[in-house]
Structures are given as structure tokens and as C-alpha cells.
């Protein structure tokens, strides 16, 4: 069936079953459905580089190869996003190994360049800096919760941690981001 002929309300599970039978177009619909969210998750882990796009793509390819193992009794998107997040986190680990071997001669500056010193640009820059300063799993958790609308249980499945840990990740990530933006003042110590 051509992708254009597919009804938009075909469920993820229906598409995954078709994909498991070798229907690449069905998997293509899933790529269209979740491609940009997966890219955001990869960029949350890896930053704004080609590595993030490569990791997101690698995640989709891994999911395509493993689609026959997808359990149709479970929701599709945490399964997919777990593969994508793992692809990105694996790349982070490999980067850390490379960094341990090769000491860079220059250090990337986080300072705001003068030509971007508008209020809006500063705001975005502060937000990005705060986001990149978070631990990777907190970044994934807050992106999935606030930007992608995942529930705590789904994120727990993606990250392989208990739901309570996800709540903690989201709470701490939000607090750090809000403080960086000056939206909320810090709570006084009790």
C-alpha cells in the first residue's frame, strides 16, 4: 500500500505489524510520525550536530531491523524512543572515550557573541546552555515529558528506570531550566 493511501488513523501497532511483515512503507509512516521527536531526543543528548542526526537515523535503522521483535501488546513509541535514546547515549559514551584519548587543543566557548546580544537571543542562549548543562537522562526526560507529551510511565520505559526516578529527573531539569531563565526565584531554604 502506498503511504499516501494509508489512513492517518492507522495505529502505530498496525503499522508496526505491517512493517514486521516487510512493509517498508508502513515503517516509513512511523518515521514520518516520530522522526522529528526522535531527532529532538537525539539532539537533547548529543547537542546540535550531525552526530545527533546520525544517532537518530541509526536508531530508526536499528528499530527497522528489530521490528519483528516488537511486542504488539505494548505501546510502540516508548519502544522506538528507547532505541533512539540508547543510540544517542551510546554515541555519548564513545565520545567520552575519544575525549579521554585525545585532549582537545581548544575549548569551545559558551560566551554569547556580541552580534547575538539581543534579548531574545540571550534568552535562547541561556536556555540552551542550561539544557546542555543538565545530565543526559534529565534532558531526555524533560524533553519527552514537556515537549513530546510522554507520560512518566512511558519515559520510565524509554530510560529503563522507575517512574519515581523519572519524576525526579523532570523536576530537577525544570528547576534548573527555570532558574537559568530567571522565571522563578529560588525557594528559600527551610
Amino acid at each position: 500500500m502506498e503511504p499516501s493511501l494509508r489512513t492517518p488513523d492507522q495505529t502505530d501497532t498496525e503499522l508496526a505489524i505491517a512493517a514486521a511483515r516487510g512493509d517498508g512503507d508502513a515503517f516509513g509512516v512511523l518515521v514520518e510520525r516520530y522522526g522529528l521527536a526522535a531527532r529532538r531526543v537525539a539532539r537533547a543528548v548529543l547537542g546540535h550536530g550531525d552526530d545527533a542526526d546520525d544517532a537518530a537515523q541509526d536508531g530508526f535503522i536499528a528499530a527497522w531491523r528489530a521490528i519483528g521483535q516488537f511486542d504488539i501488546a505494548r505501546p510502540f513509541r516508548p519502544w522506538l524512543m528507547r532505541i533512539v535514546a540508547n543510540a544517542a547515549l551510546d554515541l555519548v559514551r564513545r565520545r567520552k572515550v575519544r575525549r579521554a584519548v585525545t585532549i582537545p587543543e581548544t575549548v569551545e566557548s559558551r560566551q554569547i557573541s556580541p552580534d547575538r546580544a539581543t534579548e531574545d537571543a540571550i534568552f535562547r542562549e541561556r536556555f540552551s546552555a542550561a539544557l546542555s548543562g543538565l545530565p543526559e537522562r534529565q534532558r531526555v526526560a524533560v524533553v519527552l515529558f514537556d515537549a513530546e507529551g510522554y507520560g512518566h510511565a512511558e519515559i520510565a520505559e524509554v530510560l529503563g528506570v522507575p517512574e519515581g526516578t523519572v519524576r525526579s529527573y523532570v523536576f530537577h531539569a525544570r528547576r534548573a531550566l527555570r532558574r537559568a531563565l530567571g522565571v522563578y526565584r529560588e525557594e528559600p531554604d527551610a
Binding site: 516487510g22 514520518e32 531527532r39 530508526f60 521490528i67
Partner: protein, 112 residues
């Protein structure tokens, strides 16, 4: 404004900021790139796996069938032992599976 404690609902404003911060350029091109990569990735079906193993499988099945035939035939008709030995190739004496066969060992000893 005080910082909220655990929130159980997504923060839309935070979500918008996160999407703005993380959206990359040319989203359609990215999706097309992934779709293309999927299309060029020759995911193995069960038939591909079977196809790859078919030659080795056929050879193994042929060898197994020959062994079974050679091992069962003398047991079924002991009078044919001589003719079987006469027609048996040299490798019969050196193949481990055949050496493990009591029937064949007995046949060989009888032949000597």
C-alpha cells in the same frame, strides 16, 4: 513567583522552548533522509536467512542422509555387508561418525 513542586502535567511553555532549542534545520529533509536510509537497508527476512544457509544446509542434509543410509542398510540386510564394503569409499574408515557405529565396526572387523 514561586517554583512549583512536582508537576504532573506537561508545561506547555517549557515544551515550546525545548522544541525551539532542539528543532534542527530542514525537518522534511531529515525525515526523507531517514526514510531513504531505511529503504536502502536490506533488512533480512526469514527467507533471506534461509537462503543464506541453504547451500550449507543442503550439503549437511546430503551427508546426513548418506550416513543414515550407510548405517541402516547393513543392519537391514547383513548379507549385503560384503557388497557394501566393496562399494564403500575409503573415507568410510576414517570418518568419526562411522567409527562410532558398532555395526560398522563389526562389519569392518569381519571384513578383515
Amino acid at each position: 513567583m514561586r517554583e512549583p513542586s512536582f508537576d504532573h502535567a506537561p508545561d506547555r511553555a517549557m515544551g515550546d522552548l525545548l522544541r525551539q532549542a532542539l528543532d534542527g534545520p530542514a525537518p522534511e529533509a531529515f525525515v526523507a533522509r531517514v526514510r531513504s536510509a531505511i529503504g536502502h537497508d536490506g533488512r533480512e527476512t526469514s527467507w533471506d536467512v534461509l537462503g543464506r544457509w541453504a547451500p550449507a544446509g543442503l550439503v549437511a542434509a546430503g551427508v546426513a542422509a548418506a550416513l543414515v543410509w550407510m548405517l541402516l542398510r547393513p543392519a537391514a540386510d547383513p548379507r549385503d555387508n560384503g557388497s557394501m564394503l566393496a562399494s564403500a569409499p575409503v573415507q568410510m574408515e576414517v570418518t568419526p561418525q562411522q567409527a562410532e557405529s558398532d555395526v560398522l565396526t563389526a562389519t569392518l572387523l569381519e571384513g578383515r
